[in-house]
Symmetry: C2
Subunit: 381 residues, 2 copies
């Protein structure tokens, strides 16, 4: 593993902690802030790689848990690694499988040296150790790896949170040891520690002592109130500012922009592609559900100002028709729009950071977006 990465802070906004950074990976330099689309099973659902390249996506996330189960990481290795297998020549980050073990498996049991679980596909039994998840990610050949960790749900008793956090740190150390020969791969540390600042602080300090070229913040945006999310992010991010900071599993515009203002660099989430398959698209004025009757004769694009393939070529009425007809193309065109929306939002955020106007940009963006979301909730309620 590369212990040191060439990490540069290109610009920090004057009045927030928002920043533009770059760091090197085996498949190119990554500029942040960045949102990573999720390609769970070696494909970002409903999109070709060319459609992602057209948007300008520089990095995707893929799931170790899923690829280990199907097709199996040894097959991906035989194919020449995940980049070659799925025909993606930009950067790939793989998670450790920890989150999926706890969220998808019918059974999971934590042992001191790893976690036992049953496959969500066929119920077969498996055991992941910190070393094993690194070995799998080595087979996948991702640029950025994650160590096996224990995710905590909101509401977990504090004593259990602290035990999990302690185990996560031990596993991180074992993962680092296991990864040391992976020359082309970077291993991040994952800060766990639940929903209290003190236990997060302890976990972070222990990880920094082990030393990683980048750090992620896990188990946030899992049901806790926004205040707790903000308190923990705001507390951790500045202390990690000498490295890339990755906030895992966050995809809604409010949390992304808020976290960027606190110094977070990287994000991933299934949200944009999942809601797109579920008939819902982002707009600057909040999300819209395309099957709504009011779009029946709406021959305008989803957003007038949007430059995505979908908005340049199709109307809301056409998308509504595709969703009503359960057409696959709806998922494709919707996913392209939603991924472009987040990508463009972050491009605009970068411009604001360069101009030292991030605070104004964020307030203005979120005031329009949240206003629309509020109306949407009222209409629903």
């Amino acid at each position: 593993m590369k212990e040191q990465i060439h990490f540069s802070i290109l610009h920090t906004d004057a009045s927030t902690n928002a920043r533009i950074t770059t760091f090197e990976t085996h498949h190119g330099v990554l500029e942040t802030p960045v949102f990573m689309p999720v390609g769970t099973c070696a494909t970002v659902k409903a999109c070709t790689v060319d459609q992602l390249y057209d948007i300008g996506i520089p990095i995707i996330l893929s799931n170790t848990y899923h690829l280990y189960l199907q097709p199996g990481d040894s097959i991906v290795r035989e194919a020449g690694g995940l980049h070659s297998f799925m025909n993606w020549d930009r950067i790939i980050l793989t998670d450790s499988g920890g989150f999926q073990i706890f969220s998808l498996s019918q059974m999971s049991k934590i042992h001191p040296n790893g976690v036992e679980f049953k496959s969500f596909r066929d119920g077969s039994s498996h055991f992941f150790t910190p070393e094993k998840t690194i070995a799998i990610q080595k087979n996948l050949g991702s640029d950025i790896m994650m160590p096996l960790d224990i995710c905590t749900k909101f509401g977990t008793p504090q004593k259990e949170v602290e035990q999990s956090s302690k185990t996560t740190v031990q596993w991180a150390k074992m993962a680092k040891e296991a990864a040391k020969e992976n020359e082309n791969q970077i291993l991040f540390g994952i800060v766990q520690g639940g929903f209290q600042v003190q236990s997060r602080q302890e976990c972070m300090e222990q990880l920094k002592e082990i030393g990683f070229p980048g750090y992620s913040i896990g188990s946030l945006s899992v049901g806790e109130p926004r205040e707790i999310f903000e308190e923990i992010t705001e507390h951790l991010a500045p202390q990690l500012s000498n490295s890339p900071v990755y906030l895992m599993g966050v995809g809604d515009p409010y949390r992304i922009l808020t976290a960027i203002g606190m110094g977070v660099d990287m994000f991933d989430c299934v949200l944009p592609t999942r809601i797109a398959r579920n008939r819902t698209l982002f707009t600057r004025g909040g999300r819209i559900t395309l099957t709504n009757k009011r779009f029946e004769k709406d021959f305008q694009p989803v957003e007038d100002t949007c430059e995505c393939y979908t908005c340049k070529n199709y109307s809301r009425a056409y998308l509504r028709h595709l969703y009503k007809s359960d057409e696959i193309l709806a998922s494709t065109l919707g996913s392209i729009h939603n991924l472009h929306f987040l990508h463009q939002m972050i491009e605009d955020a970068k411009k604001a950071i360069r101009n030292n106007t991030y605070q104004q940009f964020m307030s203005s963006f979120l005031s329009s977006y949240e206003e629309g979301e509020k109306l949407r909730q009222q209409e629903k309620g």
Copy 2:
């Protein structure tokens, strides 16, 4: 309706009736032989229009029945017609809905002036007359329209076949009258008449008397033996050779190539995209089912010599993985390959026609293809 079209026979093969023709439509000159992918609900399933353009597809077929029910042809008209609605700027042929009424609807009842049916979507009642299907197709703005017809299943009593054929001819006359003001649209006649040469002959003669700029052959490839299919096609096509000849609903390589040799110019079928969604891809050596275990570590493309997007970028192992994971991308990549396969097969057929070697080309192509299909059946059985 354009009663006369500028139709040219560019070349006829020396030893078969295979030919290259062109004729003008409102969205460009169509060169035949040609296979039309089916875009039932204003989208060729799982493909973007750019993916179809990349293959070189010059014309698609879309379904009047489906678009009438959802989103409704008046909405398509308001969108500026089907071309504008679905962002397709090449040629579109729409069918009359006849086939769908009889194959999809829970109930259909033939009256002298039209057919009553219940929607397959919601069970609502509808009535199509020859005039109405033309009015709908006018709203859709397709380049080539079809008149309402009565499709006959293989095994229908001859008396009923003849009655249906008679009605089809009457309706064709009414459709022609209704279409006469549609300046930019061409109306073909549809030869029905079941599975006996004599009743087909009568239907064809009556239609020719009415006079259409092109003719299609309906209700073939609906379960009848190959010999009957060939007998009727071989009988009709040469007598229609002064106009474009369109054989409806035929998509398998054997029947396409055989019919081209008999002088048929146009084909359509859901087969290539439907089997692609069902894990099955065309190869020159017969169809293959990608989920087969033997492709697990097969890192070759579906076909070595294929120039399609899928074969240039992906392996059989990757496609197998996508199918096993129920990924949408499998349908997209599979459909691209299958549509390219038929498109390329016909491009190769055209080359052979120009070289007066169609017979050899067809024999060689089908010997390899049918051999593979035979083995496939044996493996299955």
